[in-house]
């Protein structure tokens, strides 16, 4: 750091990054729990969602390995963030995700098969069910970071209409390198918009380690570039993650403006099923990361508190496995759309100029998928 001559240099601004954690990797409490986490049912619910999500993930990977699903991005090890997101958002809020935090999608009403359909290459997947909170959510975004600034427009619409709604936009550590991420962060506070940016720092962007992604010491501090309250949280501690999220969402809902949260986690799986992480990272690193797994730690805490029995665990596993299996069947049973469907949601009404193309496709009939 630069040595400043106190006579010539005056302090103008100071920014600090804090890291919040309630449950350490062993499941030991570090501080008094927030209200929601003193409610046993809430604790069990968070645990159930994480475990069920992991069982879904296992099934999805299995489907891909057996040629029944396309490239799939696993959420293994990141279940806490999606769970905390889903539980801290209100139904009327809008979720603008990247692609990994499936637990949040599920909690907002997205059927598991919808996620499978999307990765399976069927457009039906992103038409979420009407009547659920997910109806207003944005689809999974494969193009990295470019969905984030949409949150500025959505949040501006809420403000314009004086609606007490909040937008939550998520992305990965790699996404923070794109201008799209920054342009949203830099501008959100100009209008004091109700938006919360969440960076799931899972340490890797495919093969690039987070330490090579930027010169910044933390991803949280990127929020300072927009003057946002910005902090780090242990993204594998579902309690801490939900706690800081609820705080940020409440601030936003009360009109106190945007914030940024860096949730520190770890991608336990390959980047996607098309990736082989052994090319670029060591087994030890991954083994060490398993020790910080979000499910393991909450389970340890619940058991230590005698709040969770082996029977409950078995029931949950059986139920979750069945749910995932049912979703897989529903996915497999879903037909590919009619060929001409590629024209039917292109415009509100297909311009007459393109009708002959639609007709050609309809007449040619199905070509068969892969």
């Amino acid at each position: 750091m630069t040595q400043h001559d106190p006579k010539a240099a005056s302090l103008v601004a100071r920014y600090e990054v804090f890291f919040t954690q309630f449950l350490d990797p062993e499941g030991k409490l570090k501080a008094e729990l927030p209200a929601f986490a003193r409610d046993t049912e809430q604790l069990k619910k968070m645990y159930r969602v994480m475990v069920t999500t992991r069982l879904f993930d296992k099934k999805a990977v299995a489907l891909q390995r057996t040629g029944q699903l396309g490239t799939y991005a696993s959420c293994l090890g990141q279940e806490a963030i999606g769970t905390a997101l889903g539980l801290s958002m209100q139904p009327d809020d809008v979720y603008i995700p990247a692609y990994r935090e499936y637990a949040a999608n599920f909690l907002r009403g997205v059927p598991m098969e919808s996620i499978l359909l999307y990765w399976g290459g069927n457009e039906r997947g992103m038409k979420y069910p009407a009547g659920t909170p997910s109806w207003n959510d944005f689809p999974l975004s494969v193009p990295i970071a470019t969905h984030i600034p949409h949150a500025i427009g959505v949040a501006y619409a809420f403000k314009l209409r004086k609606q007490p709604r909040v937008v939550v936009a998520t992305c990965g550590d790699g996404a923070t390198s794109k201008g799209d991420f920054y342009e949203a962060v830099s501008s959100a506070k100009i209008w004091n918009l109700p938006v919360v940016f969440v960076v799931s720092n899972n340490q890797w962007a495919i093969s690039l380690h987070s330490s090579r992604q930027t010169g910044a010491q933390t991803f949280a501090q990127k929020g300072f570039a927009g003057g946002l309250p910005s902090e780090q949280v242990d993204g594998n501690d579902v309690i801490a993650t939900r706690f800081v999220l609820e705080r940020a969402l409440e601030r936003a809902r009360k009109g106190e403006g945007p914030s940024l949260i860096e949730a520190v986690t770890y991608r336990l799986h390959d980047h996607t099923t098309a990736d082989d992480a052994r090319r670029y990272r060591g087994e030890d690193e991954v083994k060490a990361a398993w020790e910080r797994c979000p499910i393991k730690r909450l389970k340890a805490y619940l058991e230590a508190q005698k709040l969770w029995t082996t029977a409950e665990e078995e029931a949950l596993n059986a139920e979750g496995t069945a749910t995932a299996e049912k979703a897989a069947q529903a996915f497999i049973a879903t037909e590919t759309e009619a060929p001409e469907a590629i024209f039917d949601s292109l415009y509100a009404k297909l311009p007459r100029q393109y009708e002959w193309q639609r007709e050609e496709v309809r007449a040619a009939g199905p070509k068969g998928g892969h």
Partner: protein, 329 residues
């Protein structure tokens, strides 16, 4: 009916539609107090307030993305980009999101939005302020691209663009913003977004153009008339979707076609029109289809822009070639 310039007609359309529909919002750089660098948004801030007339930070990619977000909530954002040369930062957002949200959610989300920008050269502006961007956008599925050529069409097509349920790129003819005035009635009536306009009827040759180059094209038609050549002049107006029926009908009548564009020649809009004629109108052609265009060069700075922009002479030269190859009977 007041006589208005094109820029005044644009301003009138914005006032008119913001009054009619409270979901219409404006956003862009310097559109508020400053009224836009070309004054297209003058008076909107005063009348509709800063919540609906949004001065954005200096980031075109953000302007496009913000418009997308606003539009998904049922608002009808009209974004201004100061010069079409600064539309390039919007490309990713337009092609990967604005044109796709409806499709990828099978109708759940949609983007009723307009991005307006002055297009083309001829005002001695600084570097990067005089480009012709049509081709950048006309190739994008799910999009509409409009380029008006006179005040009444600017007014009616802009209303249509704002009311259209899908994203529209609206390219305004920079150098003709204040070139002439003509009658514009503020009747709130939109013009069709999928049809060419027959600007002038004729029987010997079809001249096709749009936007700013319609001016040189009309002058060329005048000159040809003096020489006893009757030119039918078509204002494409909506480049995407492209109304080939009107053009093909005209070519079937005249048997000769010259297409005039300011954009660089290679892979430009004129080529799409020519290709369609070569596919569907070949048998009615008496002569090759000629294209008048800008050159395949970077748009020159002010001192040389006249070298680049096609003038009436260049239009006439190509028309004459056509009549040399296929003389009037």
């Amino acid at each position: 009916m007041p006589n208005l310039s094109i820029i005044e007609a644009v301003n009138l359309a914005l006032h008119s539609e913001m009054t009619r529909d409270k979901d219409v919002v404006m956003l862009g750089e310097d559109i508020g107090k400053n009224g836009g660098v070309f004054r297209a948004t003058v008076g909107l801030l005063e009348k509709f307030g800063e919540e609906r007339v949004i001065d954005t930070p200096l980031a075109e990619n953000l302007v496009a993305a913000m418009a997308i977000g606003l539009s998904t909530q049922g608002l009808k954002p009209v974004a201004e980009i100061q010069f079409s040369g600064f539309l390039y930062p919007c490309v990713d957002q337009v092609v990967n999101h604005a044109t796709r949200y409806r499709n990828r959610t099978r109708g759940r989300l949609s983007c009723p939005m307009v991005i307006r920008a002055p297009n083309g050269g001829g005002i001695h502006a600084p570097e990067h302020h005089s480009e012709s961007l049509e081709t950048t956008f006309t190739q994008m599925p799910g999009l509409r691209v409009v380029a008006p050529s006179n005040p009444a069409r600017a007014y009616g097509l802009l209303l249509a663009a704002i009311r259209d349920p899908d994203p529209v790129i609206f390219l305004e003819p920079t150098r003709n913003y204040r070139l002439f005035k003509s009658a514009v009635e503020d009747n709130g009536e939109a013009l069709p977004l999928d049809s060419c306009f027959i600007d002038r009827e004729g029987s010997d040759v079809t001249l096709v153009s749009w936007g700013a180059m319609m001016h040189e094209t009309r002058l060329a038609a005048d000159k040809l008339a003096e020489e006893g050549i009757s030119a039918e002049v078509i204002d494409v107006a909506s480049l995407k979707p492209l109304d080939m029926d009107t053009i093909l009908t005209s070519v079937a009548k005249t048997g000769r076609c010259v297409i005039v564009q300011e954009a660089p020649r290679a892979y430009g809009p004129a080529s799409e029109i020519a290709a369609n004629i070569a596919e569907h109108g070949l048998l009615s052609l008496f002569a090759p289809i000629m294209r008048v265009s800008g050159y395949d060069t970077v748009m020159p700075l002010a001192k040389s822009e006249k070298v680049y922009i096609p003038d009436v002479e260049r239009v006439l030269k190509e028309v004459r070639k056509v009549f040399e190859l296929a003389p009037k009977a």
